[in-house]
Protein backbone atom coordinates (compact mmCIF):
# COMPACT_ATOMS: atom_id res chain seq x y z
CA UNK A 1 0.00 0.00 0.00
CA UNK A 2 1.26 3.47 -0.79
CA UNK A 3 0.01 6.83 -1.97
CA UNK A 4 0.97 8.19 -5.38
CA UNK A 5 1.53 11.71 -6.61
CA UNK A 6 -1.86 13.36 -7.21
CA UNK A 7 -3.68 10.99 -4.86
CA UNK A 8 -5.33 11.82 -1.54
CA UNK A 9 -3.03 11.01 1.37
CA UNK A 10 -4.48 9.13 4.34
CA UNK A 11 -4.94 10.91 7.64
CA UNK A 12 -3.88 9.48 10.98
CA UNK A 13 -4.03 10.46 14.62
CA UNK A 14 -0.72 9.77 16.35
CA UNK A 15 0.72 10.55 19.76
CA UNK A 16 3.39 13.21 20.15
CA UNK A 17 6.26 13.03 22.64
CA UNK A 18 3.99 14.45 25.38
CA UNK A 19 1.49 11.66 24.73
CA UNK A 20 -1.03 14.06 23.20
CA UNK A 21 -2.82 12.92 20.07
CA UNK A 22 -2.27 14.92 16.92
CA UNK A 23 -3.92 14.66 13.55
CA UNK A 24 -1.59 14.67 10.55
CA UNK A 25 -3.86 16.73 8.30
CA UNK A 26 -5.35 19.87 9.79
CA UNK A 27 -6.11 21.91 6.67
CA UNK A 28 -2.77 23.71 6.47
CA UNK A 29 -1.99 25.32 3.09
CA UNK A 30 0.85 22.78 2.79
CA UNK A 31 1.93 19.88 4.97
CA UNK A 32 5.29 18.10 5.05
CA UNK A 33 5.19 14.68 6.67
CA UNK A 34 8.68 13.33 7.29
CA UNK A 35 9.19 9.74 8.39
CA UNK A 36 12.36 9.86 10.44
CA UNK A 37 13.99 8.36 13.52
CA UNK A 38 16.60 8.79 16.24
CA UNK A 39 19.33 6.33 15.32
CA UNK A 40 19.87 6.62 11.57
CA UNK A 41 22.84 8.73 10.44
CA UNK A 42 20.94 9.95 7.37
CA UNK A 43 18.02 11.09 9.50
CA UNK A 44 20.41 12.75 11.94
CA UNK A 45 22.41 14.43 9.17
CA UNK A 46 19.24 15.97 7.69
CA UNK A 47 17.55 16.71 11.00
CA UNK A 48 18.63 20.32 11.53
CA UNK A 49 17.75 21.18 7.94
CA UNK A 50 14.26 19.77 8.45
CA UNK A 51 13.75 21.75 11.64
CA UNK A 52 14.91 24.88 9.81
CA UNK A 53 12.22 24.26 7.22
CA UNK A 54 9.62 23.99 9.98
CA UNK A 55 10.77 27.31 11.45
CA UNK A 56 11.09 29.11 8.13
CA UNK A 57 7.72 28.05 6.74
CA UNK A 58 5.64 28.33 9.93
CA UNK A 59 4.82 32.01 9.19
CA UNK A 60 3.26 30.85 5.91
CA UNK A 61 1.05 28.34 7.71
CA UNK A 62 2.98 25.23 6.63
CA UNK A 63 2.66 22.24 8.93
CA UNK A 64 5.78 20.09 9.27
CA UNK A 65 5.28 16.81 11.09
CA UNK A 66 8.01 14.34 11.98
CA UNK A 67 6.89 10.73 12.39
CA UNK A 68 8.97 7.91 13.86
CA UNK A 69 7.71 4.54 12.58
CA UNK A 70 10.58 2.30 13.71
CA UNK A 71 10.22 -0.78 15.89
CA UNK A 72 11.19 0.62 19.27
CA UNK A 73 11.58 -2.80 20.85
CA UNK A 74 14.31 -4.05 18.51
CA UNK A 75 15.75 -0.55 18.22
CA UNK A 76 15.47 1.01 21.69
CA UNK A 77 16.92 4.30 20.48
CA UNK A 78 13.64 4.71 18.61
CA UNK A 79 11.40 3.98 21.57
CA UNK A 80 8.84 6.60 22.60
CA UNK A 81 10.90 7.25 25.75
CA UNK A 82 14.05 7.89 23.71
CA UNK A 83 12.15 10.24 21.41
CA UNK A 84 10.70 12.14 24.36
CA UNK A 85 14.15 12.48 25.89
CA UNK A 86 15.67 13.65 22.62
CA UNK A 87 13.10 16.42 22.18
CA UNK A 88 13.43 17.39 25.85
CA UNK A 89 17.22 17.61 25.62
CA UNK A 90 16.86 19.91 22.63
CA UNK A 91 14.48 22.17 24.56
CA UNK A 92 11.63 21.34 22.19
CA UNK A 93 11.33 21.22 18.42
CA UNK A 94 9.46 23.54 16.05
CA UNK A 95 7.55 20.52 14.70
CA UNK A 96 5.66 17.75 16.46
CA UNK A 97 7.44 14.40 16.69
CA UNK A 98 4.83 11.69 16.44
CA UNK A 99 4.95 7.98 17.16
CA UNK A 100 3.64 5.58 14.50
CA UNK A 101 3.42 2.70 16.95
CA UNK A 102 1.41 0.40 14.68
CA UNK A 103 3.47 1.40 11.62
CA UNK A 104 0.15 1.81 9.78
CA UNK A 105 0.94 5.38 8.72
CA UNK A 106 4.31 4.40 7.27
CA UNK A 107 2.72 1.50 5.41
CA UNK A 108 -0.16 3.61 4.12
CA UNK A 109 2.21 6.26 2.78
CA UNK A 110 4.60 3.66 1.40
CA UNK A 111 7.50 5.12 3.38
CA UNK A 112 10.70 3.19 2.82
CA UNK A 113 13.48 4.99 4.61
CA UNK A 114 14.29 7.44 7.33
CA UNK A 115 14.02 10.12 6.23
CA UNK A 116 11.27 9.91 3.62
CA UNK A 117 9.46 13.18 2.87
CA UNK A 118 5.84 13.60 1.71
CA UNK A 119 4.46 17.06 0.81
CA UNK A 120 0.70 17.51 0.63
CA UNK A 121 -1.38 20.43 -0.57
CA UNK A 122 -4.26 22.05 1.33
CA UNK A 123 -6.64 19.34 0.12
CA UNK A 124 -4.34 16.59 1.37
CA UNK A 125 -3.21 15.58 -2.12
CA UNK A 126 0.34 14.22 -2.35
CA UNK A 127 2.46 16.62 -4.41
CA UNK A 128 6.05 15.59 -3.62
CA UNK A 129 7.75 12.51 -2.25
CA UNK A 130 11.43 11.77 -1.73
CA UNK A 131 14.59 13.13 -0.16
CA UNK A 132 14.91 16.55 1.49
CA UNK A 133 17.72 17.52 -0.89
CA UNK A 134 20.48 16.07 -3.01
CA UNK A 135 23.12 15.36 -0.37
CA UNK A 136 22.78 14.32 3.26
CA UNK A 137 26.43 15.20 3.79
CA UNK A 138 26.14 18.80 2.61
CA UNK A 139 24.31 21.17 4.99
CA UNK A 140 24.44 23.92 2.37
CA UNK A 141 21.89 21.94 0.35
CA UNK A 142 19.45 23.29 2.95
CA UNK A 143 16.62 20.84 2.20
CA UNK A 144 16.28 22.55 -1.18
CA UNK A 145 14.00 19.91 -2.74
CA UNK A 146 11.61 20.09 0.20
CA UNK A 147 11.64 23.89 0.15
CA UNK A 148 11.04 23.95 -3.61
CA UNK A 149 8.13 21.56 -3.18
CA UNK A 150 6.57 23.68 -0.44
CA UNK A 151 7.04 26.87 -2.48
CA UNK A 152 5.34 25.25 -5.46
CA UNK A 153 2.42 23.95 -3.40
CA UNK A 154 1.95 27.33 -1.71
CA UNK A 155 1.88 28.92 -5.18
CA UNK A 156 -0.72 26.41 -6.35
CA UNK A 157 1.71 24.61 -8.65
CA UNK A 158 2.85 21.01 -8.96
CA UNK A 159 6.44 20.62 -7.68
CA UNK A 160 8.96 19.48 -10.26
CA UNK A 161 10.33 16.95 -9.86
CA UNK A 162 7.36 15.45 -8.07
CA UNK A 163 9.44 12.52 -6.89
CA UNK A 164 13.03 11.83 -5.95
CA UNK A 165 14.50 8.66 -4.50
CA UNK A 166 14.31 8.66 -0.71
CA UNK A 167 17.74 8.09 0.79
CA UNK A 168 18.34 6.73 4.26
CA UNK A 169 18.13 3.74 6.54
CA UNK A 170 15.44 1.18 5.89
CA UNK A 171 12.41 1.49 8.14
CA UNK A 172 12.66 -1.01 10.97
CA UNK A 173 9.47 -2.99 10.58
CA UNK A 174 8.19 -5.09 13.43
CA UNK A 175 8.83 -8.80 12.91
CA UNK A 176 5.14 -9.62 12.58
CA UNK A 177 4.47 -6.54 10.48
Amino acid sequence: MSVGIGEAAPDFVLADTDGDEQQLLVGAPATAIVFTCNHCPYALAWHDRLLDVARDYAPRGVRVVLVNPNDGERYPRDSPEASRERVREDGGWPAPYLRDETQEAARAYGARTTPDVFVLDSAGILRYRGAPDADHDEPAENAAWLRDALDAVLAGDQPLPAETDPVGCSIKWKPDG
Binding site: P41, Y42, P139, V167, C169
Partner: protein, 111 residues
Protein backbone atom coordinates in the same frame (compact mmCIF):
# COMPACT_ATOMS: atom_id res chain seq x y z
CA UNK B 1 54.88 -3.17 2.73
CA UNK B 2 53.63 -5.68 5.29
CA UNK B 3 50.22 -7.15 4.47
CA UNK B 4 47.31 -5.85 6.47
CA UNK B 5 43.94 -7.50 7.00
CA UNK B 6 41.52 -4.76 5.99
CA UNK B 7 37.84 -5.60 6.23
CA UNK B 8 34.63 -3.77 5.50
CA UNK B 9 31.50 -5.29 7.01
CA UNK B 10 28.14 -4.11 5.72
CA UNK B 11 24.40 -4.64 6.07
CA UNK B 12 21.94 -4.19 3.24
CA UNK B 13 19.55 -2.01 5.26
CA UNK B 14 22.03 0.82 5.14
CA UNK B 15 22.96 2.29 1.74
CA UNK B 16 26.28 3.77 2.86
CA UNK B 17 28.63 0.86 2.15
CA UNK B 18 29.37 1.53 -1.54
CA UNK B 19 30.65 4.98 -0.69
CA UNK B 20 32.52 3.72 2.37
CA UNK B 21 34.16 0.99 0.29
CA UNK B 22 35.16 3.43 -2.47
CA UNK B 23 36.69 5.82 0.07
CA UNK B 24 38.43 2.96 1.87
CA UNK B 25 39.93 1.59 -1.36
CA UNK B 26 41.10 5.07 -2.31
CA UNK B 27 42.92 5.45 1.01
CA UNK B 28 44.42 1.96 0.77
CA UNK B 29 45.75 2.67 -2.71
CA UNK B 30 47.09 6.07 -1.63
CA UNK B 31 49.13 4.30 1.04
CA UNK B 32 50.67 1.90 -1.46
CA UNK B 33 48.52 -1.14 -0.66
CA UNK B 34 46.35 -3.22 -2.95
CA UNK B 35 42.78 -1.85 -2.91
CA UNK B 36 41.45 -5.20 -4.13
CA UNK B 37 42.80 -6.85 -1.01
CA UNK B 38 40.09 -5.23 1.08
CA UNK B 39 37.82 -8.01 2.30
CA UNK B 40 34.15 -7.13 2.00
CA UNK B 41 31.66 -9.14 4.05
CA UNK B 42 27.90 -8.89 4.37
CA UNK B 43 26.32 -9.21 7.80
CA UNK B 44 22.80 -10.47 7.20
CA UNK B 45 21.28 -11.65 10.47
CA UNK B 46 21.18 -10.64 14.13
CA UNK B 47 23.12 -13.82 14.89
CA UNK B 48 25.82 -12.85 12.39
CA UNK B 49 25.96 -9.40 13.95
CA UNK B 50 26.54 -10.94 17.37
CA UNK B 51 29.17 -13.34 16.09
CA UNK B 52 31.01 -10.59 14.25
CA UNK B 53 30.66 -8.04 17.10
CA UNK B 54 29.04 -5.90 14.40
CA UNK B 55 27.65 -2.63 15.78
CA UNK B 56 26.44 -1.25 12.46
CA UNK B 57 27.09 -0.69 8.79
CA UNK B 58 29.65 0.11 7.59
CA UNK B 59 32.28 -1.23 9.98
CA UNK B 60 35.91 -1.05 8.90
CA UNK B 61 38.61 -2.99 10.70
CA UNK B 62 42.33 -3.07 10.12
CA UNK B 63 44.07 -6.12 11.53
CA UNK B 64 40.94 -6.71 13.57
CA UNK B 65 40.90 -3.24 15.08
CA UNK B 66 37.89 -0.99 14.43
CA UNK B 67 38.96 2.29 12.85
CA UNK B 68 36.56 4.07 15.23
CA UNK B 69 36.29 1.81 18.29
CA UNK B 70 32.60 1.67 19.16
CA UNK B 71 32.94 1.34 22.92
CA UNK B 72 29.94 -0.37 24.47
CA UNK B 73 27.63 0.03 21.46
CA UNK B 74 25.32 -2.97 21.25
CA UNK B 75 25.68 -5.32 18.29
CA UNK B 76 22.90 -5.40 15.72
CA UNK B 77 21.68 -4.75 12.21
CA UNK B 78 21.72 -0.99 12.01
CA UNK B 79 23.52 1.92 10.38
CA UNK B 80 26.53 3.36 12.15
CA UNK B 81 26.67 7.03 13.00
CA UNK B 82 30.05 8.62 12.31
CA UNK B 83 31.25 12.15 12.87
CA UNK B 84 33.35 13.87 10.27
CA UNK B 85 36.28 15.87 11.58
CA UNK B 86 34.31 19.08 11.08
CA UNK B 87 31.61 17.76 13.42
CA UNK B 88 29.04 16.77 10.79
CA UNK B 89 27.11 13.55 11.37
CA UNK B 90 27.65 11.10 8.55
CA UNK B 91 26.83 7.50 7.61
CA UNK B 92 30.48 6.98 6.58
CA UNK B 93 33.72 7.62 8.46
CA UNK B 94 35.90 10.58 7.65
CA UNK B 95 38.50 9.41 5.10
CA UNK B 96 41.14 11.09 7.25
CA UNK B 97 40.21 8.76 10.12
CA UNK B 98 40.43 5.79 7.78
CA UNK B 99 43.83 6.95 6.56
CA UNK B 100 45.13 7.41 10.11
CA UNK B 101 43.93 3.95 11.12
CA UNK B 102 45.60 2.24 8.15
CA UNK B 103 48.81 4.24 8.67
CA UNK B 104 48.88 3.34 12.36
CA UNK B 105 48.48 -0.34 11.50
CA UNK B 106 51.32 -0.11 9.00
CA UNK B 107 53.54 1.46 11.66
CA UNK B 108 52.65 -1.26 14.15
CA UNK B 109 53.46 -3.94 11.59
CA UNK B 110 56.75 -2.30 10.73
CA UNK B 111 57.82 -1.88 14.35
Amino acid sequence: MPPLAIELLWWEGCPSHPRALAELREVVEELGLDPDAVEVREVATDADAGNEAFVGSPTIRVNGRDIRPPGDEPTGLTCRVYRRRDGRISPTPDPADVRDAVRAALHREAA
